[in-house]
Symmetry: C2
Subunit: 221 residues, 2 copies
């Protein structure tokens, strides 16, 4: 069986978990305290990051590379459209969330509030938290603009771009950092994603010391 070394709230791990689940690839989840740089883990991935996926006898790292591999070897159901221009848009948005959104929002809210505590690195930096809370509004507005024009983030079909975005937002929702009242279309989009069977494992996550809010796994939030 596939095995994923992960951290429950990591958006990069969640993106991989969503891809695997959507394609019905069973996976054993192994929590990895990657920041402790255990030699066994470093052998699996010298970059010392999660996710690391063992699949088809290969030890894989880098979530973007992993998701492309899964898509190439298990194209059905597809998370990538066929046309080059549409694929460009999917990858642009995956980059948007995993780079820009990650730097401006996820790292400033989730990492300050949760990772620092879990890793024993002290208290949240309130300036970062403030910046992240401000930046997420801009990102929700950008998503609103996209979803006003499209059924899904990258076009008319659900793609990896939706999973990348949902991976970040679901992790932030776990700590109540998403204001779902800001945008009706974003909320509707998230409700659609959230109700997919692929999302179940993510909604069942529990991080010791950080109980999720009631609405987190409520499909009718």
């Amino acid at each position: 069986m596939a095995r994923l070394f992960h951290v429950p709230l990591s958006p990069f791990c969640r993106k991989v978990r969503l891809s695997l689940a959507e394609k019905k690839i069973e996976v054993e989840l192994v929590e990895e305290r990657y920041w402790e740089a255990d030699p066994d883990f470093l052998r699996r991935n010298p970059a010392a990051k999660v996710p690391v996926l063992r699949l088809d006898g290969i030890m894989m790292s880098e979530s973007a590379a992993i998701c492309e591999y899964i898509e190439e070897t298990r194209p059905d159901p597809s998370l990538m459209p066929k046309g080059a221009e549409q694929r460009l848009e999917v990858r642009r948005l995956v980059g948007w969330f995993d780079d820009k959104f990650h730097n401006e929002v996820t790292s400033k809210l989730l990492y300050e509030r949760v990772n620092k505590k879990v890793m024993g690195q002290g208290f949240p930096d309130s300036r970062n938290v403030k910046d992240g809370a401000k930046a997420i509004k801009y990102h929700l507005d950008y998503m609103t603009w996209l979803l006003d024009h499209r059924r899904w983030l990258a076009g008319d079909v659900m793609t990896l771009a939706d999973f990348a975005a949902a991976a970040h937002l679901s992790a932030l929702d776990y700590i109540s950092d998403v204001d779902w009242n800001r945008s009706e279309v974003v909320k509707d989009w998230y409700a659609k994603i959230k109700s997919r069977p692929a999302f179940r494992s993510i909604l069942a996550d529990q991080v010791p010391g950080f109980p999720p809010p009631k609405h987190y796994n409520d499909l009718d939030f």
Copy 2:
């Protein structure tokens, strides 16, 4: 003709320039002071980052997405192997350089020494410079380990992984931050890449206020 909005020393822009040149796609280079957030530029890319490429009538952003698009629409000469496992390795290494190497080295050396001055953000933080100078040694050693086992970084053929790595190293070499004496195999690898016609435009770059060292465009460095 294709048009690339870029910054000369940006490794992400250089990776795209190398891909375009290797595939003999002519491109007009337009320098973009993206940090000034000109409204015209923001319309081209709301992420306010370079590179932005206009090709096939499409305005493209995110260097990883752009390079995949170029590869899909101009597969010859190829910068991606055919097999899924080999493609995984190429993308893993592109991620290694564009994420890990970028965070640990490029941002600490190049951005401190050059970008800060160009953007009027003051002097280099000596702690960052020290950390970057330390980290690049570890990365050169990792490249040595790879190249002891392989002709090119991701395997037996030259790929996008080599261009991603060369894009970062060439930008750092412009400010003399690469110790080529540390590893014979890395130096040989760079000499091979450097002598490709695709590299010419990169070796001709000039940044006002930062003249390149003599060895920078010397093929026999």
